[in-house]
Structures are given as structure tokens and as C-alpha cells.
């Protein structure tokens, strides 16, 4: 396939969602972004399932013909390739008061747009969304991260109603024009 998205079930098993479900999913993603922008990392962590895979592969410039090789595979280089345990470790670090790249903390703003949920055969939801994360830190340092996220969401019987079971982030840059990704995307 020629698009930077994970392999997915065949179309017929993918059903569009109605406005209400779309509303719920968007509010869930907005809430997640809010927790990060408010630096409430512990609360944020709870939005992810224990078996979550949080992944941001690297990307290279190749010809149209070789475009399928543009985004690194599961065995390739990545910026993030975390399980829940390590996400916990990152959050511990950010709360340590000694994570210098975030102490003093960055100021971030997450624009989550073009939310495109589909319901899969097993009742989970695959949600593709575009993001533009703006980061300001120290006096005048400015970074910007943009690309697409493909989340796998599961319904849960309690607030806030969903859990992220899988997140694949694809940046639209190859060389990262930032000194670090000391935040979450």
C-alpha cells in the first residue's frame, strides 16, 4: 500500500460512525490533548490500555515508486516505541523535577483536527486524526510537530468511555527540526 497507515481490515468490516459516536470520540481526544497541555501526565496515562503500543517510526525521502518504504517498519528506527511500562517511566521522569528538557516545563498546544473514526468488526474504533502540536519553551524557543495519528480505541464501561489500545504517529518531516521530543504526541 502507498499510504503511511498500519495494515487494516478489509473495507467491508469498517463502518462509518454516527454523529454521536464521532462526538464522543472527538471529546475523548480533546480531553487527552487537554491533559497533556495542562501537564496532568498521571491522568493522561490512565487513558491508555495496559497493552498499548505507542509508536512513532522514522521516515525518509524516497521516490514515488518506493513510497511504501518511506515510513520505517516495526523493525526499523523510531522516535517512540513504547509499552505501558515505559510510558509510566516517562511520566515518572517528567514528575521528578529533574527532567531538564522539561524543567522548567514547555508550553504546548495540541490542535487535533480532521478526526476520521471508523468502527471495526470487533467493535473497536480506528481513528485517524491530523495534529499540529506547537511547543514553546524557555524564552523564545519554538518547535512545531505535525502529522497524522492512527489510534485504536476501545470502549470502556467507565469514564471517559474509551481507551487508547494502539497509537501510531507519523510525522510529515524526515529530519526532525527540533532538539528533542521531550513531550508526548
Amino acid at each position: 500500500m502507498t499510504t503511511p497507515t498500519p495494515d487494516t481490515p478489509t473495507p467491508d468490516t469498517r463502518r462509518p460512525v454516527d454523529p454521536t459516536v464521532r462526538h464522543e470520540i472527538e471529546q475523548f481526544l480533546y480531553r487527552e490533548a487537554e491533559l497533556l497541555d495542562d501537564q496532568r501526565f498521571q491522568d493522561w496515562l490512565e487513558l491508555f490500555s495496559d497493552d498499548v503500543h505507542y509508536w512513532l517510526p522514522t521516515r525518509v525521502t524516497r521516490t514515488v515508486r518506493e513510497r511504501s518504504l518511506e515510513v520505517a517498519g516495526p523493525d526499523g528506527a523510531a522516535f517512540f516505541d513504547d509499552d505501558k511500562t515505559f510510558l509510566r517511566g516517562r511520566v515518572r521522569r517528567l514528575s521528578s523535577g529533574q527532567s531538564w528538557s522539561e524543567e522548567p516545563p514547555s508550553r504546548t498546544r495540541r490542535l487535533i483536527t480532521n478526526v476520521r473514526p471508523v468502527e471495526l468488526a470487533d467493535g473497536t474504533f480506528e481513528v485517524r486524526a491530523n495534529f499540529h502540536v506547537l511547543r514553546s519553551r524557555a524564552e523564545r524557543h519554538h518547535d512545531t510537530f505535525f502529522g497524522e495519528r492512527t489510534d485504536l480505541l476501545r470502549r470502556i464501561p467507565r469514564e471517559p468511555g474509551f481507551q487508547v489500545a494502539r497509537r501510531k504517529i507519523v510525522l510529515d518531516t524526515t529530519t526532525l527540526l527540533a532538539p528533542s521530543i521531550s513531550i508526548f504526541l
Partner: protein
């Protein structure tokens, strides 16, 4: 030639910060340091088959590194000689030939100009194609799968250039019978700091770990007691530092090659290959393979974190980091993957260690906008006067501790020698004399 004798005084452990900011000094570095030194180009595993190519950089110059049909590797400037167009605009791939998009001049895998459109009509067959290929990298050397290149015909051989640092390089490059391979894909990012901050830290600076990376351990370790023990260990474990030919390395003296810091899978694999590893490099060296390393000027790696990188200069105030993860070529997928993830999580733009290094370097550079800040000498005197020769019988200048700045002073000495326009012969001469001043441990 710029006079830099006032700017760096290795003998006194003093550095004038203008070497990190002055645009003229930077241009001189491109000419005197980078165009004369051996620079890392690529690793064997990046060029699997004939026609495989990657675009690499030699400082700010883009070069195409290409696997030839005969298996050899050639490199040439990625610039068309007609009007200077970038010949190939892909980061990597497999090619049969390279055709310039602007006017269609075509080059073979060796970088020879093989076709000029309308050669008869437009050039009256008077163009000598052999003269108009892109600039070749005249010297490319394959050191155990690591390709280095230099523009300088006068430069010493790679082995001579490396000197005793080969002992450290091979501790990584030549550790296993099957050699190593790179995880597919380079990780590239930009840091607004001078290249020497990064190169120097990886050559000489174990000292920053306890302060800069405390929170990294918090991420890796949940149990506070274990955390405290680790922190204590950092301060007490004995170590050594090497310095020679501008290269530098520091490492701890560990009781065993495991734990590996990657995890149980790799530990088990290492355990099973202990004999092989000891046989190849010797036990002392195997145990020493746990530190930081820089081959002058800008190729660095961390043995135990399985990351290697080039610090490409991008002006006096910016670098591009190109980093790769290396694994034993023979290792099974679960081992490769364990190493891969552990490296990503610790040393990469989102790595819990690496992010804090970048913060330090960018802030240093920012402060140097100041006029008084650019006049304040930096202190590189740690261990000054305590340099040693061949501690524990290790080759070359080896200090009896890893907490010293001997290698930093060595790096700036080489930098100053090159910047002063000294010939390679003069530099070798000087180094020999300097060696003698240092007593053997």
C-alpha cells in the same frame, strides 16, 4: 590562516567561547578540519546490494555513497558539474544510474559522467566527459564494515589517523565473529548548538552523567532504593579515559559484560557469546566496552547503549545529528528488537537521556549571543596535570579515571593544530613531543 593559539590553550585547560560562535572560524573549520579529516560515510549494512546508495554528508557537503557492482563502495559529491544541481534527491534507495533532473546529464554508479543529452548538437562532441563528473571522494577506507572518507590526499592512512583509538573502535566494530549491523533507518534531528559541544562531550565527558541524567534513571528504574544504589555506583565506580590524535573515550571498569542495559534477551545472548567476545578483543577490552567515544572530529558512539552518530555541522550554531542503532549481526529478532527499543527509549530525540543533553547544548549556545558571555573563558582543567600513559597497559594516553577532561584538551589540541594550517607531518611531530611530557602510569 586564523591564529587560534589564544583561543584554545589545552595546556592550561582554557577555551575561549568565540570558537563556538564566530562565523569566520566556522568557515575555516570546514576547510581546515572537516575537509582534511577522515569522516564517517556509511556502514556496510546500509548498502546491501549493487546499486544500493545512501546520501551522506561530509560536514555540509552532500555525498552519494554507492555500492558498486564489484561490491566495493565509492563516494562522490552529490552535485552536478554542469550547473550544480543535486544529482540525487532521495535519502536512500537502489539505482542503476543517476540522472540530473535539470538538464539530464547522467552518471553511473561510480559517479562518472556517462551521458550528456544532445552531446553532438549542443556540445559538438567537444565535451570531455571524463573531466566533468562530480567531485569524487578521493580516499574511501573500509574499516571492518565502517566506511570513512576524506578529501585530503595528504592525510595519513585511516589506521594512522585512528592511532590507538582503534583499540576502542574495534571494541564496538569488531566485537562479534559475524560483526554488527545497523537497525534500518537513521534518526535525524537538529540542535541549535555548535558541533564541538557534542563531539567533546562524547569524547571526554562522563562527568555530566550524574547531574544531567538523574531523571533518566528515574524513568528506567521504579524502585527508589535501586535508584539510589545506581546513583551511588555512578560516583564510585572506577573508570579510565583515553585521548589520542584528537579522539577520546571514557569508560567504567565493570566486573562483567552483563547486564547489558538492553534487557534479559541481550544479556542471555551475550552470556552465550562471552567466550567469542573475549577471544576477539580480549577480556579487558570487552569489559571496557561500556563508555562514550568520539573519533575526531564528529563520529561518536556509546558502546553499551548501542547508538552511534555523526554530528554534522550546520553553521556555527547548529548541528544535524544522524544516529543509528547497532546490533550483533547474528542476533535473533527478539535480541535485535530488545536492543532497538532500549536504544530508542534512551538515546534518540525522545530518549530519556538524550533530551537533556540537547537542552544543555542549546542553552549554552543561546547565552553566547552575549558580548560578555563570549569573553568568559571556559574551564577544561579537570585532571589537568594528571594525564597518564598506558594505564593498566591499555594502549596510548590513558588516564586512571574516567572523570577527567584530558580527552577534551586533546581534542581541542588537534583542532588547534589543524586550524593553524599545520601539515599532517608537523602535527605528528608535535604529538610525539607532547606524548613524551606525559609519564607512564
Amino acid at each position: 590562516m586564523l591564529d587560534v593559539s589564544e583561543l584554545v590553550q589545552p595546556g592550561k585547560g582554557l577555551i575561549h567561547p568565540s570558537i563556538y560562535t564566530d562565523p569566520e572560524i566556522y568557515q575555516a573549520e570546514l576547510e581546515q578540519v572537516f575537509a582534511r579529516s577522515w569522516l564517517f560515510l556509511a556502514h556496510d549494512s546500509q548498502l546491501p546490494k549493487p546499486g544500493s546508495f545512501v546520501q551522506a554528508y561530509m560536514a555540509e557537503d552532500p555525498v552519494l555513497v554507492v555500492r558498486q557492482r564489484d561490491g566495493s563502495v565509492k563516494a562522490f559529491l552529490n552535485q552536478c558539474r554542469h550547473r550544480g544541481m543535486r544529482i540525487c534527491r532521495s535519502d536512500e534507495g537502489v539505482a542503476r544510474a543517476f540522472t540530473c533532473t535539470y538538464h539530464g546529464w547522467a552518471y553511473n554508479l561510480a559517479g562518472e559522467l556517462v551521458n550528456v543529452p544532445m552531446q553532438e548538437r549542443a556540445y559538438h562532441n567537444e565535451i570531455d566527459k571524463s573531466q566533468w563528473g562530480p567531485r569524487r571522494v578521493p580516499r574511501v577506507h573500509n574499516h571492518k564494515g565502517f566506511y570513512f572518507g576524506t578529501w585530503d590526499e595528504e592525510a595519513p592512512s585511516f589506521e594512522e589517523y585512528l592511532g590507538d583509538m582503534v583499540w576502542r573502535l574495534d571494541a564496538m566494530a569488531d566485537r562479534y565473529d559475524e560483526g554488527i549491523s545497523l537497525i534500518p533507518g537513521a534518526t535525524k534531528w537538529v540542535i541549535d548548538c555548535n558541533w564541538k559541544f557534542a563531539a567533546e562531550q562524547f569524547a571526554s565527558d562522563m562527568y555530566h552523567v550524574p547531574s544531567s541524567h538523574t531523571s533518566a534513571l528515574v524513568a528506567l528504574v521504579e524502585d527508589p532504593q535501586v535508584l539510589a544504589r545506581l546513583h551511588e555506583l555512578n560516583l564510585t565506580v572506577p573508570g579510565r579515559q583515553f585521548s589520542g590524535n584528537g579522539h577520546g573515550s571514557g569508560f567504567a571498569l565493570r566486573p562483567d559484560i552483563i547486564p547489558s542495559q538492553s534487557g534479559p534477551e541481550f544479556d542471555a545472548w551475550l552470556d552465550a557469546h562471552r567466550e567469542e567476545i573475549y577471544r576477539r578483543g580480549g577480556e579487558q577490552r570487552a569489559l571496557a566496552a561500556n563508555g562514550h567515544n568520539t573519533v575526531f572530529p564528529n563520529f561518536s558512539w556509546l558502546d553499551i547503549n548501542n547508538t552511534m552518530r555523526v554530528w554534522h555541522p550546520r553553521g556555527p550554531g547548529q548541528i544535524e545529528v544522524w544516529a543509528w542503532t547497532f546490533v550483533p549481526r547474528g542476533a535473533p529478532d527478539e535480541v535485535r528488537n530488545e536492543i532497538r527499543t532500549s536504544t530508542i527509549r534512551s538515546f534518540s530525540p525522545a530518549g530519556v537521556f538524550e533530551t537533556d543533553d540537547g537542552e544543555n547544548w542549546t542553552e549554552i549556545q543561546q547565552v553566547l549571543r552575549g558580548h560578555m558571555a563570549r569573553k568568559s573563558l571556559f574551564n577544561a582543567q579537570m585532571g589537568l596535570g594528571h594525564e597518564k600513559q598506558g594505564t593498566d597497559g591499555m594502549p596510548g594516553r590513558v588516564a586512571d579515571d574516567m572523570y577527567t577532561e584530558m580527552a577534551a584538551r586533546g581534542m581541542y589540541q588537534r583542532w588547534a593544530d589543524l586550524m593553524s594550517g599545520l601539515s599532517w607531518q608537523q602535527i605528528a611531530e608535535l604529538d610525539r613531543n607532547r606524548q613524551q611530557e606525559v609519564h607512564t602510569a
